[in-house]
Amino acid sequence: MSEPSAVLQIRGLTRRFGGLTAVDRFDVDVNSGEIVSLVGPNGAGKTTVFNLISGVLRPTTGSIRLNGRELVGEPAHRITRHGVARTFQNIRVFPQLTVRENILLGTHHWTRSGMLGSVTFWPPTTRAERAAQAEVETAIDLFRERLEPRLEDPAFALSYANRRRTEIARALAARPKLLLLDEPAAGMNPYERLEMAGLIRSMRDRGLTIFLIEHHMPLVMEISDRVIVMDHGVKIAEGLPKEVRGNPRVIEAYLGRRAATA
């Protein structure tokens, strides 16, 4: 199953919290240029998987490889440097920073500029800052009419949907190889959700590999190349959207046994 084009390769990933096994021997491959969705009922362990990939949590056992490089054991900030960027389920923009500064944070790990450089107007530092500012323009390209007027506003003053967009733009500015989106369409109205679907597709078309958690089934069915269903920490189904939604185990996980056999 290990194709050479797998960007993300997870094997036997397990995480226990005391007696609870939040993620249990989870395997997945995400190939380059794919949109893979991770779905499952609340508490299935989806966000834990994301936290394990991005280094927020350490796995109990298992291996996570990004383009063949082992990520387990690396601190979170170094994992970002290797090319994983993420967004959070409960949006985590920096409220006191402006939208522009939030997006500039995404450029943090690939720009080099120190404290001495910035007070002495050291040319390489100035160049790095200019490159970072230019990246903001690239990162908001997909959200231009939404975010451009708000660039100098502090993030706490933004609407819910604009905070999501800022968070995604921030992740894009990190120039990731793999983008983890944790419920990007949560709390959005149908129109904004449609926009989000288009957005995710256009990010993929720009060469990104996308792994997302989403609850909104029609959105998942529409945009995913593959769907993985989790329940109680275990992968219960994997396949094309069409295959997965007919799977009785999936229906059982969501609606109980009676609905599955009816």
Partner: protein, 418 residues
């Protein structure tokens, strides 16, 4: 870097002034820290003692020296407030041992510029010693303490401050460790409660071109103002650079900062030690100004509290606020000197009123609250953010509705049965 044109635009009509007033503290800070405001401020600050001297020379009023000294104290506290603002306001680290670094700086200079241990270094060598010593102490405390979570950092730094005070008081005799005396009899490093006397002032030309001979008190006022200008310049450059953004990001949301590739430990240590070195240099100037290094105000917890009050009164994270806080807390006690018994009452009432009506400080945008989840950092909240928190249930409701819709789609969508 990214100054928006409207906030720095000229304020010419009363209408614009009103709009400026209504634009809120974030915009005030931006306007007050622009070069258009800062350069005139420092020019005025530079000229004030000359004006005082002129008034004294041309009237029966005497007090130019007295008021210049008060303003020098004020400038010194402004420097300390700006340095503390870096560690508390930007990086959100509650450093309660802050003033110990001021004391360490003053003692480090006093030791290499007096007869205490018979060392008299030239200015630049002494400056290097002060920087190296304060940095060493900052790393000694910072490296273990900045890995701590939550309020423990405050406890450790407070303990460090108290230990340093006791150490300075006791090092007038050779230390005894496990029954062994370290060093010869009569070894006196810090002078105990007396402090170190006859510290040499900086070897500066006291006869300047144009200005003529400059008296000691005015020279040190200018040194403090100059150092304040340097600190403010550095702060503004850092705040609008990769480093400053990383500090504020760690303060706002440490987890998200880490997920964006910020090495949080490194940046917290940077903020902690840079602020300590700044305080150390202020201590060095102070020792040269008063020819002494004393244990009492230099290491007192009260002095930390005073600087904290200045920063919080002015507004966390706001540089003009830190200067304003220093002025508001050093000048009134001298003005109210004749009402000895009432001056602290008046000051306390003012502080209480500020905390009730503007908990985020005069020019600040955030108020302070200990972080519940993770960190070693303080959570700084905005009024707007507090409103957002109350909106959260609505969001989860929407998510729940989404989920129901999703579940509904599984059974109702006719395509599902194929």
């Amino acid at each position: 870097m990214s100054a928006s044109p409207q906030s720095v635009a000229a304020i010419e009509s009363p209408h614009q002034l009103k709009r400026f007033w209504e634009s809120g503290p974030a915009a005030w800070n931006k306007a007050l820290t622009s070069p258009r405001a800062m350069i005139p401020f420092f020019l005025v600050a530079f000229a004030v003692p000359l004006v005082l001297q002129w008034v004294e020379d041309n009237s029966s009023w005497i007090g130019a020296q007295y008021w210049t000294l008060i303003l020098a104290t004020c400038a010194m506290y402004a420097c300390l407030a700006v340095a503390l603002n870096l560690v508390v306001g930007y990086a959100g680290l509650l450093n309660l041992g802050f003033i110990a670094f001021f004391g360490i700086g003053s003692y480090a200079y006093a030791l290499v510029a007096s007869d205490q241990i018979h060392q008299r270094y030239p200015f630049w060598a002494a400056l290097l010693v002060v920087i190296a010593v304060t940095l060493a102490f900052a790393l000694l405390v910072g490296v273990p303490a900045l890995r701590l979570r939550g309020d423990y950092l405050a406890i450790v730094t407070l303990g460090f401050g108290l230990i340093m005070r006791d150490l300075i008081l006791d090092l007038d005799r050779p230390p005894v460790l496990a029954g062994h005396q370290l060093g010869p009899d009569g070894l006196n490093i810090t002078g105990g409660t007396n402090g170190i006397h006859n510290v040499e002032p900086f070897n500066l030309p006291m006869n300047l071109p144009i200005l003529g001979p400059v008296p000691h008190f005015r020279m040190y006022y200018w040194i403090f103002v100059g150092f304040l200008a340097l600190c403010i310049f550095c702060m503004l450059r850092w705040r609008n650079s990769r480093t400053g953004r990383a500090w504020v990001a760690i303060r706002d949301d440490e987890l998200a900062a880490r997920a964006m590739g910020v090495n949080t430990f490194k940046y917290r240590l940077l903020a902690f030690s840079v602020s300590a070195v700044m305080a150390g240099i202020v201590g060095m100037i102070n020792a040269a100004q008063i020819f002494n290094a004393f244990p009492s105000p230099n290491f007192d917890v009260q002095t930390t509290v005073v600087v904290f009050i200045m920063v919080i009164l002015g507004g966390l994270g706001s540089l003009p606020g830190a200067i304003l806080g220093a002025i508001a807390f050093t000048v009134p006690p001298f003005v109210l000197q004749q009402f000895v018994f009432y001056k602290y009452l008046v000051i306390s009432l003012v502080l209480v009123a500020v905390m009730i009506y503007r908990p985020e400080g005069l020019l600040g945008t955030v108020s302070i609250r200990p972080r519940q989840t993770m960190g070693g950092t303080l959570e700084l909240i905005t009024a707007e953010a507090a409103v957002e928190a109350s909106e959260l249930p609505a969001v989860t409701d929407a998510e729940a509705a989404d989920l129901e819709a999703a579940a509904g789609a599984i059974v109702e969508d006719p395509e599902w049965k194929t």
